[in-house]
């Protein structure tokens, strides 16, 4: 496998997706956040920074998810459907390089997207900090432009890396609509994994218990990546937790990308 080819495919995906939807996405995010900060500043007293911190992280997650799913599901299936893959695969490009390049390209897009959103986020928080009096700021749990918020942004990124892998996996053998439904379904189900684990309390020692436990371990644990509440309330997130969660996300995503490569390499383009 050639790293250079993967990089070239990735660069083309990045260029295309930035022009496709990412710009609108970023403008949408900026308008939402700046608009909300002014509005909330008018309505609440003392809590506005916390609300903006929460809202900003949630919006980054949702807007990032939008990019990851809606570009991710089309990464391979759109190429196949529109037959652009034909000319590409007649070049010295292995199918595995194409799939991994596509993944890397979207990962880069999402990373840049998150970085720009984080810059807007810190800009708004910095402005809020600058415009408030020192006496007022003493009531805050943490400074407005708290660098620890980046931990939550980082884990949103790891989560999106996993979401892209899920979308890519489904898009190697399914239509964009179905891939979107499957990916979104897994994303939602992944947030409720803990309920599945606790199901054993309800069902006792029946075989259903083994089934729910198996599903719990198979489903991606999306809740693990969500430390937004903790960082907004200035609670610590340990380095150990960050490392384990990163490895979990990376291994899960790598397995899905490997499966996508396997499926895509054997596929006939009718």
């Amino acid at each position: 496998m050639s790293g250079r080819t993967i990089l070239r495919v990735a660069r083309a995906v990045f260029k295309e997706s930035v022009r496709d939807r990412v710009l609108y996405n970023l403008v949408g995010f900026a308008i939402l956040l700046i608009g909300a900060s002014f509005l909330i500043g008018q309505l609440t007293a003392g809590q506005d920074v916390k609300i903006i911190k929460d809202l900003g992280l949630a919006a980054m997650s949702v807007f990032g998810l939008f990019i990851a799913i809606f570009i991710g599901i089309g990464l391979v299936s759109k190429e196949v459907e529109r037959r652009s893959v034909y000319s590409l695969l007649a070049k010295p490009v292995r199918r595995s390089e194409l799939v991994i390049g596509k993944y890397a390209g979207l990962l880069l897009t999402v990373a840049v997207n998150l970085a720009v959103m984080a810059a807007v986020y810190y800009g708004v928080l910095g402005y809020m900090s600058w415009s408030e009096s020192e006496a007022f700021k003493r009531g805050w749990e943490a400074p407005a432009a708290d660098p620890r918020l980046l931990i939550a942004v980082y884990l949103v990124f790891v989560q999106l890396a996993l979401v892209i892998a899920i979308a890519l996996f489904f898009s190697t053998f399914s239509t964009p609509m179905l891939s979107a439904a499957f990916t979104f379904g897994l994303f939602i189900a992944g947030h409720f994994g803990a309920d599945l684990k606790n199901f054993e309390v309800v069902v006792g020692d029946s075989p259903v218990r083994y089934l729910t436990t198996a599903i719990y371990y198979l489903l991606p644990d999306m809740a693990a990546f969500d430390v937004k509440t903790a960082v907004v309330h200035a609670q610590p997130v340990t380095a150990g937790y960050l490392a384990v969660t990163t490895i979990y996300g990376a291994v899960y995503a790598a397995t899905l990308v490997a499966a996508a490569v396997l499926i895509f390499s054997r596929r006939d383009f009718k």
Partner: protein, 319 residues
């Protein structure tokens, strides 16, 4: 020397049906050789298996059985793809890249860099007639312009063998002429061109050899001159300086007399007649000979007869 393209009993089945899948044979035991430097026309009606063959050669689909080689190497070999170019049928590229960016991207996959790459991209876009539009995103391109970009991308690596699937489709008459001239230039540069088409006049104008595919099977193959000269249907003689009633005297060999301008007549002569003897007799009756041409079976007639024969053979086999 290896053939530029060789297939050996290449066969492809596609599963059809929703519940109980049955195999449908799209290509049935195709064995074919194309020599280096040839312009080879791969002809057949829609659904004959032309695109299936091209996809097998490009490894976009995998054969059920049989083998295929390009430049002496198996088609799966990545090194082969450095030396070939491919234009898919009705090509489609990335909406948000410009023509220039697309070609730059594809050129980079062949390790072309810097000034070389820029020069190659620019000269190819000139060659296929994309001017100022090269900086427009491809979603703004018409079908004919996308086809031109498709041809440019197939030539980006200066390939030894070029595969063109229906290269004239979607082009206006001017565009078709441009592509025809481009294929001729490729031939002059010693490239092998393998193109599929159902437009026979293109094949007649360009190809040194053709294969006719029907119902997934090879119905005929050979040099165009052989296929066409094979069946001389008669002769066409243009004469002047003789009256129409004088011509009636020659009526067994001459089957039809058609007057054209300025006292000239077109005479249709039977295939078994000896034109030399007839010319002598006409000359002695005072006629001047303007031209004499054999009337060949056209490629279209050969095509229709082969395709119909293949169709009835297939029906017979199924019955």
């Amino acid at each position: 020397m290896h053939p530029a393209i060789a297939t050996d009993r290449l066969t492809k089945d596609f599963p059809v049906g929703f519940w109980r899948k049955r195999p449908y044979r799209a290509l049935d035991g195709l064995t074919l050789d194309v020599s280096p430097g040839e312009v080879f026309g791969f002809l057949g009606p829609n659904g004959a298996g032309k695109t299936t063959t091209l996809k097998l050669l490009m490894q976009l689909i995998f054969p059920t059985s049989g083998r295929a080689f390009i430049l002496g190497r198996p088609v799966g070999d990545l090194s082969v793809r450095r030396r070939i170019g491919y234009l898919p049928e009705n090509p489609y590229f990335y909406d948000y890249l410009t023509a220039e960016e697309l070609l730059t991207y594809f050129a980079s996959l062949f390790d072309l860099r810097g000034a070389d790459r820029r020069a190659r991209v620019s000269s190819l876009l000139d060659e296929v007639g994309i001017g100022g539009e090269r900086r427009l995103q491809l979603r703004k391109f018409s079908k004919g312009m996308v086809q031109r970009v498709g041809i440019a991308q197939a030539l980006i690596n200066d390939p030894e063998v070029v595969f063109l699937d229906e290269p004239m489709s979607g082009l206006d008459p001017l565009g078709r002429r441009d592509i025809r001239e481009l294929i001729l230039r490729l031939r002059e540069r010693g490239k092998t061109v393998f193109f599929s088409s159902h437009i026979l006049s293109d094949a007649e104008a360009l190809c040194s050899r053709v294969a006719i595919l029907a119902g997934g099977r090879l119905a005929a193959t050979g040099k165009l001159t052989e296929l066409l000269a094979y069946e001389v249907r008669g002769w066409e003689l243009v004469v002047t300086g003789i009256a129409a009633d004088a011509l009636e005297r020659f009526s067994p060999p001459i089957t039809k007399v058609t007057p054209i301008a300025d006292g000239r007549y077109v005479l249709e002569v039977r295939a078994d007649a000896q034109p030399a003897g007839l010319i002598g007799e006409l000359a002695s009756a005072g006629a001047s000979i303007v031209s004499l041409n054999p009337v060949h079976t056209t490629l279209e007639e050969i095509f229709v007869s082969k395709v119909q024969a293949a169709g009835s053979a297939r029906e017979g086999a199924l019955a």
